[in-house]
């Protein structure tokens, strides 16, 4: 591993145990009939990859191919059953936007709480506070309980906190799934700004346009296994999303703003 490695995934495997029967009664009946009580499902299967600092990598693949699980292994929510996952620096991301928001607390209190959950100190949050508020653009609702917010406002506030965490690695899921068109545009600009500042980005998306614009490298997962790792455009062709690309892949067309996870 080199000194400029940001994320190192080494033969990582994550297996989920699916339980068919939850109660004692169901389990007894199933045992008598000789049915399986549990089944396993390999969400991430022996994946190895290395991401350098400052790289922005698109993570692509069909639904259920293990993208989100891999992201959760990288952000530390889950631990691999086999292999290792190592990271360098603080991780932030859009996996947990709005996680931990409490409906009874005001927008202001929730900003501090959410930022603390992502690892920011009180001072750091205070320093970024105005930017967070400006970006979320919720105006006079700041002192109102978050429970009274519209779903759009709720999502904007969550997104705003997440993108203002001082991070070294930024994991982006559901990036463009929030808000109206102007806000999506603002999000894309902000992502670009994060990218420019040299933060390592892992970006999960089905939108070929934004992957092509944001990322120089694409990793494709297929049923938990590493299917492709290489140039962005080759990766997009590999998953056969290149039909979706606008004629000029690098212009901000409507197609890339698709709300998809």
């Amino acid at each position: 591993m080199a000194a400029d490695t940001a994320i190192l995934v080494d033969e990582a495997t994550k297996v989920f145990t699916l339980r068919y029967h939850k109660t004692f009664k169901q389990m007894t009946v199933a045992m008598m009939r000789g049915q399986d009580l549990t089944n396993t499902f390999t969400a991430v299967d022996n994946v190895s990859l290395e991401i350098k600092q400052g790289e922005s990598v698109g993570l692509m693949g069909l639904n259920g191919s293990g993208k989100s699980t891999l992201l959760k292994l990288i952000n530390g929510t889950m631990r691999p059953d086999k292999g290792t996952v190592l990271t360098r620096g603080r991780i932030a991301g859009l996996i947990a936007t709005g996680a931990g928001f409490h409906p009874q607390l005001s927008g202001r209190e929730n900003i501090y709480l959410n930022a603390a959950i992502m690892g920011m100190s009180e001072k750091e949050t205070a320093r970024r506070y105005d930017e967070i508020v400006d970006f979320a653009d919720i105006g006079k609702f700041l002192e109102a309980p978050v429970g009274t917010y519209s779903s759009g406002m709720y999502a904007r506030l969550g997104f705003s906190v997440a993108v203002h965490v001082d991070s070294d690695i930024f994991l982006a899921d559901e990036v463009l799934a929030v808000g109206d068109k102007p806000f999506k545009k603002k999000c894309l600009d902000k992502m670009e700004e994060i990218r420019q500042s040299g933060v390592t980005i892992v970006y999960v998306s089905h939108a070929a346009g934004s992957v092509a614009r944001m990322c120089e490298r694409v990793i494709v997962l297929e049923q938990g296994k590493l299917g492709f790792d290489g140039e962005a455009m080759d990766g997009i062709r590999y998953v056969k999303y290149d039909d979706d690309l606008p004629v000029d892949a690098l212009s901000a067309g409507d197609g890339e703003l698709g709300a998809d996870i």
Partner: protein, 302 residues
């Protein structure tokens, strides 16, 4: 935003200090106290959550123990005649109730804490011990004002602080705190796998209330149980915790120091308390080890 090609745009090179480490690594309870700022916010959130949409709010946390107090005081004190045998019976109950309530609240809320916070736990890496610990601190927040009420009534009944009593009070609260956290850790993770554990805790707390010399005196226990049964009885850490807090407050209010209910209390109470506290701390270490073993499976089982 410019529409220039990716490679043409200038990029800052960012060098990150620090080592490659597993992103999920943490030091359990130590990590929880290292991130005390987050813990503080979580406790406040929990306090806000507990009384959400309630008009009386914080007052409810007194209504529960007070209603228990009046039931015991009326049924046991008035109807069953405990007033005659136990001097200053209300203080006997109320001092015990503070410790018992602190413990059962920590145990109960702590057990539910991880399942209740699943939205957060399945998305963000953080020390998961945070939630049982914050449940304990939320319960501890309520102990303060209850102690103030107790002290006011104790002084009214002729109590004055003494060094042994103060030590006994701290031992008592620490026992409830350490033991409550240990059990909250164990049961919070067990509750993720089988919600049955949550129901079990409800029953267990019922036994805790009656397994301590709160509504009856320790004198009655030592008179009716054999020596070994008494030892067994005292091996319940909360029973020791209750005796300690009664030593701290109730004993000082009894006019006659030779009263049988006072002399019946076990000798070397502080020493017993210390032993129980050490045992609780050992259990806390074991609980942390068990927690470490199973917490890996928490996100997928929620």
């Amino acid at each position: 935003m410019t529409d220039a090609p990716v490679e043409a745009r200038p990029r800052t090179v960012r060098h990150v200090e620090g080592d490659l480490i597993p992103p999920s690594s943490n030091q359990g309870l130590l990590e929880v106290f290292r991130r005390h700022y987050l813990l503080n916010l979580l406790v406040r959130r929990e306090l806000a959550a507990r009384y959400e949409g309630s008009f009386l709010g914080f007052v409810w946390s007194y209504i529960n123990p007070l209603s228990q107090f009046f039931i015991y005081w009326f049924v046991m004190g008035k109807l069953m005649g405990a007033h005659q045998n136990i001097p200053n019976y209300p203080i006997h109950i109320f001092s015990a109730l503070i410790v018992v309530h602190f413990f059962t609240e920590t145990f109960g809320a702590g057990t539910r804490s991880i399942v209740r916070n699943k939205a957060l736990l399945t998305k963000q890496a953080m020390p998961r011990e945070m939630f049982p610990v914050s449940a304990m601190l939320v319960s501890l927040v309520h102990v303060g004002p209850q102690l103030v009420i107790l002290i006011v009534f104790a002084i009214g009944s002729g109590w004055a602080p003494d060094p042994v009593g103060v030590a006994a009070m701290f031992e008592s609260l620490f026992i409830a705190m350490v033991l409550g956290t240990a059990l909250a850790l164990l049961f919070s993770v067990a509750n993720v796998f089988f919600r049955d554990f949550g129901s079990f805790v409800g029953i267990a707390t019922n036994y805790v209330r009656w397994g301590v010399p709160m509504v009856y005196s320790y004198e009655m226990v030592s008179n009716s149980l054999s020596h070994w049964a008494t030892v067994l009885y005292l091996s319940d850490p909360i029973a020791t915790g209750v005796l300690l807090i009664q030593r701290a407050f109730w004993v000082g209010t009894v006019d006659d120091p030779k009263h049988p209910s006072v002399t019946a209390m076990p000798d070397h109470l502080l020493l017993i308390g210390l032993g129980v506290l050490v045992a609780s701390a050992v259990l806390l270490v074991i609980a942390q080890l068990v927690f470490n073993k199973f917490e890996k499976k928490i996100p997928e089982r929620l």
